[in-house]
Symmetry: C3
Subunit: 470 residues, 3 copies
Amino acid sequence: MTEIFLPDDRYFDPASRNVALHLYDQVKDLPLVCPHGHVDPRLFSDPNYQFGTPTELFIIPDHYIFRMLYAQGIALEDLAVPRADGGPVEQDHRKIWQLFADNFYLFRGTPTGIWLNYSFRNVFGITEKLTSDTAQSIYDQIADQLTKPEFRPRALFDQFNVEVLTTTDAATDSLEHHKAIQESGWKGNILPTFRPDAVVNLDTAGWHNHIKALGERVGKEINSYKVFIEALEDRRAFFKSMGATATDHAALSPYTTDLGDQQADVIFQRALRGEATAEDAAQFTGHMLMQMARMSVEDGLVMQLHPGSYRNHNKALFDRFGPDKGADIPVALEYTRNMLPLLSKYGSDPRYSLILFTLDETTYGREMAPLAGHYPAVKLGPPWWFFDSLNGMAYFFDKVMETAGIYNTAGFNDDTRAFTSIPARHDVWRRAAANWVAGLHVRGIVDEEDAEAMVHDLSYGLAKKAYKFA
Amino acid sequence: MTEIFLPDDRYFDPASRNVALHLYDQVKDLPLVCPHGHVDPRLFSDPNYQFGTPTELFIIPDHYIFRMLYAQGIALEDLAVPRADGGPVEQDHRKIWQLFADNFYLFRGTPTGIWLNYSFRNVFGITEKLTSDTAQSIYDQIADQLTKPEFRPRALFDQFNVEVLTTTDAATDSLEHHKAIQESGWKGNILPTFRPDAVVNLDTAGWHNHIKALGERVGKEINSYKVFIEALEDRRAFFKSMGATATDHAALSPYTTDLGDQQADVIFQRALRGEATAEDAAQFTGHMLMQMARMSVEDGLVMQLHPGSYRNHNKALFDRFGPDKGADIPVALEYTRNMLPLLSKYGSDPRYSLILFTLDETTYGREMAPLAGHYPAVKLGPPWWFFDSLNGMAYFFDKVMETAGIYNTAGFNDDTRAFTSIPARHDVWRRAAANWVAGLHVRGIVDEEDAEAMVHDLSYGLAKKAYKFA
Amino acid sequence: MTEIFLPDDRYFDPASRNVALHLYDQVKDLPLVCPHGHVDPRLFSDPNYQFGTPTELFIIPDHYIFRMLYAQGIALEDLAVPRADGGPVEQDHRKIWQLFADNFYLFRGTPTGIWLNYSFRNVFGITEKLTSDTAQSIYDQIADQLTKPEFRPRALFDQFNVEVLTTTDAATDSLEHHKAIQESGWKGNILPTFRPDAVVNLDTAGWHNHIKALGERVGKEINSYKVFIEALEDRRAFFKSMGATATDHAALSPYTTDLGDQQADVIFQRALRGEATAEDAAQFTGHMLMQMARMSVEDGLVMQLHPGSYRNHNKALFDRFGPDKGADIPVALEYTRNMLPLLSKYGSDPRYSLILFTLDETTYGREMAPLAGHYPAVKLGPPWWFFDSLNGMAYFFDKVMETAGIYNTAGFNDDTRAFTSIPARHDVWRRAAANWVAGLHVRGIVDEEDAEAMVHDLSYGLAKKAYKFA
């Protein structure tokens, strides 16, 4: 039997390992600040929530996992990924787990492999490496743990030492689960985040339904751009009253523009009539990003923007299984010209704060670091999605920090729906940060005093400050 | 006298050198799998083929070499590169060799320098470093070796331990040399590859002649798109019967589109009349890539696509010396949108296999790894051309593997017309792979068992599987 | 009290530190060759020039410094940056210095931090780290030094061991300070560089005034393209007579085109009438780059081109403070197609020399190294601006050198207006070069003899040769 390989000094360069370990030791037990993520608030509103089978916990909902199996020719049906038409998929969770274990070698050297091994060993106490031979025994062990009270989400929340966890919620969300959590007396700090993509991006599937739902939330028919804007302001105020400190915005491109109210309404009316073009949608999204900045100036919510994902690239797969099935592919991005209108208007306003993400690493040093190193409002979010990895972090540090300095960045966020992977993800970041700063120290770039302060800020302080957590 | 510098533990990071050496030792003697290259099959059809002078072997045919001398102001005429008009060039091969040796310092730190030193020492037994002083002595030693039977291509093929070597052949090629090899009784496994660029890309110089030749091969006049497609299918079947397992396609961009038969024929007819525009050519290439995918689904040939080279950038040089003179310059590439039509249609088909290359490293992590990490049909070829180097490989591993995993890549190929450089190129790859995996191991990312399997797969198994060699 | 952290073996990778130190020791005392910079020649024309207060020396004129403070919300007025309208700004230089010291932690891990610490300790003899507590004491020490004769620019020039320093001068400049220097009998080698951007780029603010000034310099009204060209030729000849060996050109894009004289004049006449469009300006700049190449072929001046900066991105800041306030943001660049006209015409001309820069690192390996590794005229300048840093240099070496070889690069230049930072900048380069070459040596890529030659050439020889300094 082979043991899971997670040495204590992992992810550190041998040449600066001792320095890195020393720095890491100072931050490894700090509380986790989780300002951007996709954990379902139901996990915490129901004190007795259970995760289901190991397959339900680790495989079926996680497109990081099943896309890798799909890429090797395994059908999503065989992994029990639900079909859009409700048609039959594999029901035997042990069989799926075996298939996963048989192919676990695919994750060698990947962040997903790292997170899984961490979760297996450090959350569930598994010691053997997952292989074809150990698959069923490990399934049994995890299944057994999941029945215990200490594996309920609230118990894990405390055990993980989470200081604050934010969810991501549609503009139309009732936040009923957040209300239930707040009213339950449980002390876990779970905050909503306002994400209005579905009503702001005119090309969203089911946009009319989302607009209708928005109208119902605010008690008005959304029949004009003016009412639409008022409804969004109304919802932001509600989210803020529920503890939100931030908004979140996806877009294919970081294009911004100010159409003016009249032209914005012309496009909005076309959309209401079902006549908006692709160009209308792009223009309107660019305009609404400016509006969201304007509202942030007024209400103080931190604005997050993460462009660059071409969603649902595999059309046949989308038709069969719907969105978020591991088929979103990045595109090249341009920030300098696209963000000029927004940044010229709001970028130096002390009331405004904008956290930028990217899926195009070429923009780190060329555009994002120079923007963050100039505009007071701009901070850079951590390496995102495919780049939430050891190499992704090392590259981010190397490309961004010399120009922006670490104090124009926003620390780490785990951006995950997989709650049990959260400690693993923060651990990778804290080790990567300690490793990077250790490299600076052993090469004579920062002294020990600065090194310790930097790792602390990267691990804890920067995220807390950037997201305005008290 | 200075010796050639090729220490046994070369290319390994000092901090993980012992681990890397251990991993490398396990793969260094594995047979060479060479699934993509440009060696002339004549080398093997004639059992008594001789390479000529050292200058004919190393300098005159190799644009990697002479472009570096040209960049420093040395005329190609002075290096005996043949002129398109057949005009006079330098005839004294010893003088050319001396000029090469005088400028050998230009190759310091370059892959070409590495390959040359390996070939000199490990293939030809030279021990002294090439300098102005040693030039003539080394010329003598190589010239002497080249007269010996053990330096005939077939003998070297065996000595190099080549398991399979593929050539690259025009759609119109008779494959007569492959036939001769197969009929000769010699056991060397030399397979053709179907590369139809010259008939598929309408802007190819001499396209009409290539179409005429294609017609002659299939015994029909190629007077319509329909006949053209049939001719290509016919030729693919012939190549397959001759042992081909793959096709190969160059394009300036990875743009794909489905024009439909009617529109394809309209453009094809314009081309036959000599009236096709640049836009016609781009559209037709994009359409034919889809057709090639369709044929691959049907006949099982693996499809290779390597876009991004702006050919013959230096117009005056092209007029004087023709193509392939070291003046091809890469351009930026976009895969996500360009390949959407092809991948949506064929990317999940279990019968289809597509190996993608790039000359734009920015696409590794942004587009190619996400595509390969999702679509079952897509595998990534190794770092290509300018990136077939130690840094190119290290960057490829770092940018691709975390997202795609190594099992969505296709191992190594040497892509060379310089037969005697083949062992050097595979040795660099095997060392680079061992070094990368050793880095993963000493940083606690993969255990020893996985590390050994990964280096074996990268060095041998992945290429064999991706190219469907039995 | 904490000491400034500048260990003797700084910036070297631990695993090859001894080799790097050995290589660095051989070049650290070589004279400084400074072929591209922005030091004001007045510093040297007046033998008694004084730098003013520490705040005037280090903060007020240096956008590398104040942009980082601005990015954290500190107003430029509070840093005494002069307003365009002459309005009031902070007058208390000690107070500004304190603010700078309070925020000096922002520069942790940045090249600016490195340069400042080097200047403090190695130029001014400060030993304590700059903090809130030490701010006033360090101010006193620097202020005291600045009163001494050995801190006059000419004395520092000798102490820094500068072999040659070039300035950057408008096409309309009288070069009176250069004349004064030459006539003064002082032996410092200060040469002008011809930078005609303000007259060549039609969209320059105040273009008509610059054209008028140009006419006054050459004693003709610039009323046609023909006269304009003659005036530029005239000025180039004057600069050359004053010792210039190079010209310098900025552009948003490296686009080149040959409009022909007639079309060039049509656009020029529109510009004279104040009717030129943005497209006119782009076309004219592209045309003038071709003209500048043509003139370089004729007069032998080395041509430098550094495209890619989107100037004055923050419009409100530009209106209030003018240009060069840390708000220039890079854009993506394309060289392969854009430079085709120029390189096809002049790129192989032995009389022509072109030094290319970039703000888009993605072009290093993809376009610039292949161009420099082919065209005899092309050399690559060092990593520029945001990339003039340890990571910027390491990345440049890794991306460029395998393809171009070091002998198609142009060594280092400091590109600074901060004269007292010049030794710091060259020291970083020499250490980075030694570190990179040491890495090649310990990994068995270059032998000791080659390693020593490479570091010497990178530190000294390449710049001297590329800029044709005798």
